[in-house]
Amino acid sequence: MTGLAALLDEVVGEIDAILLFTRDASTYNLFSEEETPTIVIAKTNAVGADEFVELPLEFTNVHGRIRFGLEGTLRQGLLAEGDEVVCLTSSFEENQIDTVVRVRGDQFTQTGVYDLFANSRADADVVRDVFEVAIELGKKGQKGKRVGALFVVGDAGKVMNKSRPLSYNPFEKSHVHVGDPIVNVMLKEFSRLDGAFVISDGGKIVSAYRYLEPAAEGVDIPKGLGARHMAAGAITRDTNAIAIALSESDGMVRAFKGGELILELDPEEY
């Protein structure tokens, strides 16, 4: 076992911080005496840690989770670019630390995943709720059939002025917010309508059935994505909104900000 121990020592040796992906207080207490700073990354700060990064989604994919956590800690200034960190997380069993990963702070090019949630115009909760709706929709589809959808979140006034209605707005004079329990069903039904959903900073669903008319110059999204994604990229470039698109062809959820593709998720994994 000396080989294993030596290897493990090498992995966890000389690090600047520990990123602990847990909500379990007893696990956290193991590290409270530790000299190296311990940063907790989880959905809620259940352990009451001083240095905490909120995880907006339950990333089942370890790679994505670590990437988000790392970017969050960097953006919050808890870490510097060149720092070496060890991430303790769980790959299989929930709430059971079984994975040790060592990464450098500048391991990944910063994509802005953390900014997407924390520094968007819309509230982080609203962005998260929209993601959850999109993931849910991607998972179940409408009556078993795959659907596509486009949600434009935040800066709704400007978005409304850069788009036109395709038909009567079903959300007119309604006060539905994403995150209301009824919304999932409602959006599922409306998702067969063409056009985008517009959601305000505070999470109010302003309109469905919108045809977006942004200027599409300079939008840099991967080739091969359809008109929906192009519209999503373009509207985020023209306004301060973010766009979350559910692809009808490959079932992926993609988020755009500032005209760029920021995040790509497979709903089946959540």
Binding site: A156, G157, V159, M160, S200
Partner: protein
């Protein structure tokens, strides 16, 4: 007119029968008390009250004494029934000269029972209310907000204690005046403090219901012109180039809105 039961029984039957009857009543009372105890347990469990009070301080301290809230209420009811039958049995058997005693106890017993029940319910409801409010306030990241659940809890305790004391006949006028002063303070001062918010929300409800302008419209309020970004109960946010105005709905109402059409 009240029938004198002991005399009636004695005139119809004999002294022995009266005594036997008293014993029978005691036994029936015991069975009845047991049934009441069973029934309380079943009802409280069925209505989900047992789960609802799980983990409250009262339940926990009850458990420390080897019982539970449901047990206490059940026992209380059973004891109440049994005490009633004992009094009736004594009355019929004429074991004590109970005429005075009986009427006083009979008057006092239900009151005592209600008093205990008020305390138990008050303790549980107070704590539950505090918990619910605490959950609600979880998103408010203000340490001072933790005072509110406590305040609600002790207010409910106070009212429960007041009911209990009034039931057992302690003079509660002073406490009642205190409560009135407290309620007045909360309502009056609260109203005073939240005056602007209240008028704003009244206007906001109208705006939300009729939607004279909506997100995306260009409007002008008091020389502040821009595109509506958000309308909520209290404020309207409008945004123009580089500026965002947050206007209380009350002001929207007072000075009116110019909708800009082009």
């Amino acid at each position: 007119m009240q029938i004198d039961w002991p005399d009636l029984i004695r005139s119809l039957f004999s002294e022995e029968t009266a005594f036997t009857l008293a014993v029978a009543i005691l036994i029936i009372g015991g069975v009845l008390a047991y049934l009441v105890w069973r029934w309380t347990h079943a009802t409280l469990e069925r209505t989900g009250i047992k789960n609802a009070i799980e983990g409250t301080t009262f339940e926990r301290s009850a458990q420390r004494f080897g019982t539970s809230t449901v047990g206490i209420i059940g026992t209380l009811l059973a004891a109440f029934v049994y005490a009633g039958t004992i009094i009736i049995a004594f009355h019929i058997a004429r074991l004590l000269n109970v005429e005075l005693f009986w009427s006083r106890i009979a008057g006092y017993l239900p009151r005592f029972f209600i008093a205990v029940l008020a305390v138990v319910i008050g303790l549980i409801v107070g704590e539950k209310a505090a918990l619910v409010i605490q959950e609600r306030l979880q998103s408010v990241k203000l340490p001072e907000a933790s005072v509110i659940p406590k305040l609600v809890k002790y207010s409910i305790f106070y009212i429960a204690a007041l009911i209990a004391l009034a039931q057992i006949g302690v003079a509660t006028t002073a406490l009642l005046i205190l409560l009135a002063a407290y309620a007045f303070g909360v309502v009056f001062l609260g109203g005073l403090a939240f005056k602007d918010l209240l008028t704003s929300s009244a206007a906001g409800i109208y705006l939300l219901l009729t939607e004279p302008y909506t997100i995306g419209d260009e409007i002008e309020i008091d020389d502040r012109r821009g595109i509506v970004q958000e309308v909520d109960v209290f404020v309207t946010r409008i945004e123009s180039e580089g500026e965002e105005f947050i206007i209380p709905n009350q002001q929207v109402f007072r000075s009116g809105v110019v909708r800009i059409r082009n």
